[in-house]
């Protein structure tokens, strides 16, 4: 529990903003680490899209809109896509947590 009673309102919320937009999550390209930064950006977007597709698949499954064959095909595709993205991320020294991108006021991708 962090209580900000002792801070001014502005400082308290600035503290919140600073922690939600910490440097590690920001989309930024550094000349010294450009390959890793680009990989992080691209893989982060791919993982974001994969998770959106996963949520859509879950909704369709819960609505009874997927046949057994479709469940198998969709599940296998999403599972392998996740493995492939994590394998590629690992090659660039990135963990799955690094693929969460901070889009400022729009929030984080995943």
């Amino acid at each position: 529990m962090i209580a900000n009673q002792g801070l001014s309102a502005a400082d308290a919320v600035l503290d919140l903003l600073a922690r939600s937009g910490d440097a590690d999550g920001r989309v930024r390209i550094d000349p010294e680490t450009v390959e890793q930064d680009l990989a992080r950006l691209l893989l982060g977007l791919m993982e974001f899209l994969r998770q959106l597709m996963e949520l859509q698949a879950i909704r369709r499954l819960e609505a009874g809109q997927l046949s057994e064959e479709e469940q198998e095909r969709l599940g296998k595709t999403l599972m392998r896509a996740e493995t492939a993205i994590h394998t590629l991320a690992d090659r660039f020294g990135l963990s799955p947590g690094d693929l969460s991108l901070d889009l400022g006021p729009l929030g984080r991708t995943i």
């Binding site: 529990m1 009673q5 309102a9 502005a10 308290a12 919320v13 499954l61 969709l74 599940g75 999403l78």
Partner: protein, 207 residues
């Protein structure tokens, strides 16, 4: 100039802000160099909320020109005077509850269908944990307090008279620190305030 919020004609905003009367309401603005970021706008809005008897903030995350804000007020701001009156002497405290990471799935799936089924259960478990946490927060903050979802967890706003809000925050902290609540285990709770009354801000992005 950047628009920060609305006030009544009698209020005088603090430096470097200025009041800009218009046909539909009095806009509080700040020079762009002082309000270039969300954090800077929030800092100015907090100062305005202290100095002005009534201050209705705009969303600090979006930059709006005074012309755009006045145009919105002229076209759609019929409720603006009432809303400004509603925040007179009021302030807000916000409790942010950040959810802990989802527990790792118990086992690796061997087929696509099993993997999808496993993820469905993870999703359902997450929704159950959030519902239980929301119920626990309501139990501590009062059943009439609205708990809303946000991408990283849950949030609730306390809106009260500025002179009693601090006491309500202390009371809420005491409730939250009481006996362990299993539904909130692992959640990170942050209570911030007093803030301008963002809970009553207009939802319209142009506002």
């Amino acid at each position: 100039m950047i628009a920060l919020g609305w006030t009544d004609r009698a209020s005088i905003p603090p430096e470097p802000c200025a009041a800009l009367p218009g046909p539909a309401g009095t806009l509080v603005t700040a020079p762009a160099r002082h309000a270039a970021t969300s954090a800077a706008r929030l800092r100015l809005q907090s100062a305005c909320a202290v100095s002005c008897a009534a201050f209705l903030p705009l969303a600090p995350t979006l930059e709006r020109s005074p012309d755009a804000a006045h145009a919105w007020a002229t076209a759609e701001g019929h409720a603006l005077p009432d809303r400004i009156d509603a925040v007179r002497g009021m302030a807000q405290a916000t409790l942010l509850a950040v959810a802990p990471p989802d527990p790792a799935p118990a086992s690796e799936a061997t087929s696509g269908a099993a993997w999808l089924s496993l993820r469905t259960r993870v999703q359902a478990d997450r929704a159950r944990r959030r519902a239980a946490a929301a119920q626990a927060l309501r139990g501590r903050a009062g059943q009439d307090i609205s708990v809303r979802a946000w991408p990283r967890g849950l949030a609730l706003d306390l809106v009260a008279r500025r002179d009693i809000l601090q006491a309500q925050m202390v009371e809420l902290l005491a409730h939250l620190r009481q006996a362990d609540e299993p539904a909130l285990a692992g959640w990170r709770l942050t209570l911030a305030g007093p803030l301008p009354v963002f809970a009553l801000s207009f939802a319209d992005r142009a506002a």
